[in-house]
């Protein structure tokens, strides 16, 4: 019967296709001893470290090195520079490069590259957000190949941190824009791994660099695969197509049962908080803002929204070495009542705090595209409403928010970097950085004590003075909170049990920084 023949024919065709397909597929990549293959969701637009703002992607992290770097405690330690001296007035930084440094293409790395990098980033201004770190640098002198002297117009203590940015090769970029697309795809660095292939949308392939100043890394190779779909990434991890992967909070439970894998969970300096706009009279009273900080049940956020992959936040420096724990914010409904009553508020018929006929009414918004932030927004609105605050939850498109920073009432924001405290807190909290002045203090928060402490901390590199200054800063912030802090995020990465070396460190956005010590990784 030809009808059946037709049916059988199509089935045979389909099976045939599958069968040819199956011959060469699916065998897991080498478990140990070979290249380490790791899947991540985000692919950077460029591998140029000067265009990545303190959240360096794994490839850029491994390909480049700066004059300084950070250790497991995020303290500044020598990188390409073996030592440095700071003049007494803190306006001269003299770096001495290690001897015999070379770029991945074999060319010698000299102080001229230092000069070139700093001048190029500074000149790129708006193109490179990191240029803000070098505005104080007046000139760079290179008395010899291994010495670079930076002259500053004013003391700028985060400078040692800033020069951890990957150094750029003058011979590859001279006469080109900093944003040069060719360099962004085929970068030449001096880090422990050398990029041998970059297939956009697919993967980057790296091999250990024999000329690295700490010696050739032990891993025979690293492949970073870009798999943007969370589920597809998990499948690749489970069927062995990749050895390791960045995980979403809800995926951690699935992987912990796998006896080949181990989950590395690290803290991050990336926090979520409710930002208040001080142009709105409703936030004028600091007792109201204090009360809201006591109204939030942070453990509930960590449990329900972050699925355990987070920790309660009480301030912007909780993950910093400068943390003092000045803010006692916990979930304390009694404290809310104790603050609101004396401030002149009383509960109305709807159970909302009211003063002179006005409730504490404001719209809480965030980027509607970011589902994690929307979840935080909804839980925060519910919790605050339960405690008598008249919150209207309303996520809005990111474009709207970008154009209306000055108009919105309150917003779920994310902030924080693991590096120098200055880069985490000066922008959002110093009054000179207010929105109208073109800065990133979007809530137009102004507090003279905070300003004084931030300036003091920035103007010196004396650790004791900075410590005291940041203690004052945290105290002032806790007494007059600009934000209601919610939680710090944890970041999870699955790696094979046989992989030795990944070391816990407080990381930045998206858990970038996991590969910070990849030069020490090895197979057991």
């Amino acid at each position: 019967m030809h009808k059946s023949a037709l049916v059988i024919g199509s089935v045979v065709t389909a099976t045939g296709l599958l069968a040819t397909a199956c011959g060469s597929a699916g065998d897991p990549s080498g478990t140990t001893g070979g290249t380490f293959t790791y899947a991540i969701g985000d692919e950077p637009e460029t591998l140029n470290p000067a265009l990545q703002d303190e959240h360096t992607d794994p490839v850029t992290e491994m390909v480049f090195r700066g004059l300084t770097r950070h250790d497991a405690q995020n303290k500044v330690v020598p990188g390409l520079a073996e030592s440095w001296q700071v003049s007494k007035d803190e306006r001269r930084y003299t770096f001495t490069l290690r001897s015999g440094l070379t770029w991945h293409d074999g060319k010698p790395l000299t102080s001229r590259d230092v000069k070139f990098t700093i001048e190029a980033v500074k000149a790129a201004s708006a193109d490179a957000p990191l240029s803000r770190n070098f505005t104080a640098v007046e000139s760079v002198e290179t008395p010899d190949d291994r010495t670079a002297t930076l002259k500053l117009s004013r003391p700028f203590s985060p400078l040692l941190d800033a020069v951890s940015m990957g150094l750029l090769p003058e011979h590859a970029l001279k006469g080109k824009e900093l944003t040069d697309a060719g360099f962004g795809r085929h970068p030449i660095g001096s880090g422990p791994f050398k990029l041998t292939a970059y297939k956009p949308g697919q993967y980057s392939e790296l091999e250990p660099f024999g000329g690295y100043y700490e010696g050739r890394p032990k891993l025979p190779g690293v492949v970073i695969k870009y798999v943007s779909d969370d589920t597809a990434r998990l499948i690749q991890l489970e069927n062995g197509e990749v050895d390791g992967a960045h995980l979403q909070p809800q995926q951690v439970g699935r992987v912990t049962g796998d006896d080949r894998l181990r989950v590395e969970t690290y803290p991050t300096a990336d926090y979520r908080a409710l930002m208040f706009n001080f142009k709105k009279p409703v936030f004028a009273d600091k007792d109201v803002r204090l009360a809201m900080n006591y109204a939030l049940d942070r453990d509930a956020f960590v449990k329900s929204v972050l699925l355990g992959q987070g920790s309660p936040a009480t301030g912007p420096l909780d993950e910093s070495p400068y943390k003092t724990g000045a803010a006692p914010f916990t979930h304390d409904p009694a404290k809310v009542d104790a603050l609101m009553g004396p401030a002149g508020y009383a509960k109305n018929a709807q159970g909302l705090w009211e003063k002179d006929g006005k409730t504490v009414r404001f719209e809480l918004t965030t980027f509607a595209e970011d589902s994690a932030r929307v979840a935080i927004l909804n839980v925060a609105a519910t919790q605050l409403k339960q405690r008598g605050f008249d919150v209207v939850p309303n996520p809005r498109p990111a474009d709207w928010v970008r154009k209306h920073w000055g108009d919105l009432d309150a917003m779920v924001v994310g902030w924080g970097t693991p590096y120098d405290a200055d880069s985490s807190v000066y922008g959002p909290f110093h009054s000179s950085q207010a929105l109208d002045k073109g800065g990133s203090n979007y809530g137009t928060y102004a507090n003279p004590d905070v300003d004084k402490a931030l300036d003091r901390a920035r103007g010196t590199s004396d650790p004791a003075v900075r410590k005291a200054a940041y203690a004052d800063f945290q105290k002032a912030l806790a007494a007059d909170p600009p934000f209601a802090w919610v939680a710090y995020l944890l970041t999870d990465n699955a790696v094979p049990k046989a992989l030795k070396g990944p070391e816990r460190r407080t990381l930045g956005h998206h858990g970038y920084g996991f590969f910070w010590n990849a030069e020490k990784w090895s197979w057991s």
Binding site: S10, A14, A25, E45, A181, P200, T231, A232, W400
Partner: protein
Amino acid sequence: MKRFLLLRAATALAVVVALSALCFALLDLAPGSPAASILEARSGGRPAAPTDVARLEHRMGLDDPLPVRYGRWVSGAVRGDFGASYGSGRPVAETLADTAPWTLLLTGVAVLFSVVGAVGAGLAAALTRRAWLRRSIETGLFALGGMPGFVTALLLLWIFAAWLRWLPSGGLARPGEPVTAAVLVPHLVLPALALAFGHHFGTYARLVQTGVARLRTAPHVENARARGLRRRTVTARHLVRLGLVPFAARLGVGVGTLIAGAYATEMIFSWPGVGREAILAARQQDYAVLTAVVLVTGVIVVLANLLGDLAVAWLDPRVRLSGRDPAAPNGGMDRAHH
């Protein structure tokens, strides 16, 4: 036939030109600033300072009036220069040359799967006398028809990549492996199947089935049978050929949806095609890339419609002879008054 072809080609060209202008204007109306998006991307999502945004907009020439920018774009585009990506600085033409072939391959193979599968299943359901077979095919089509494309994709991933481990779950090849045909084929199967079965497959098969079944009692078929033609000849020449017309007409239109589907499929399977670029560009508001991608997509859709029309003309002699628009409702099927 020649006139028909010329007319179609001229219309297609006009559509592409109109599309470029429309696309440019729409992107201009879209809210938000590409400069702000770039700076936010570079700082890991941290909001950009308004002064930095303004400075970068000026550098990118975004503060010029719309007609100036469109003129600049057209004068480049006719020379094959679509500008450079706002984010990476890479020339858009280069990106397209790298990615478009992969999307064409993926959609091409998916169309093939879709046609073979839909014709196979549709004909089997239409011609079989076994009720159980027809019913099970119909149930299967119903289930497929109700499933969003990305669910089909994830389901296929779970079954063939995660559970059976027969097929790789994404990419063109394993990292470091050269992309040869033998490597490419297994990597292509899952995304192509997902694309084929996740987008209107049920509709296609049903169109084949009803198209053919409806003709079983049509006068020309009865006539052919009465003339004593062999069953096989009647089925092949009079039943199946004409019965495929509604499907062929719909397929030409459906390629547009298929390409939209390819965008999502490429993201799930890490397929380095235009779709991935488009979605990333949309997120970043990289209008240079987006405009070009929309244009290329438009050209592909227009071409596919053209091919669909030609297929209908080939299948249906009435269209071939009269130059009627086969994409009109019923595709000239029922009103056979010639």
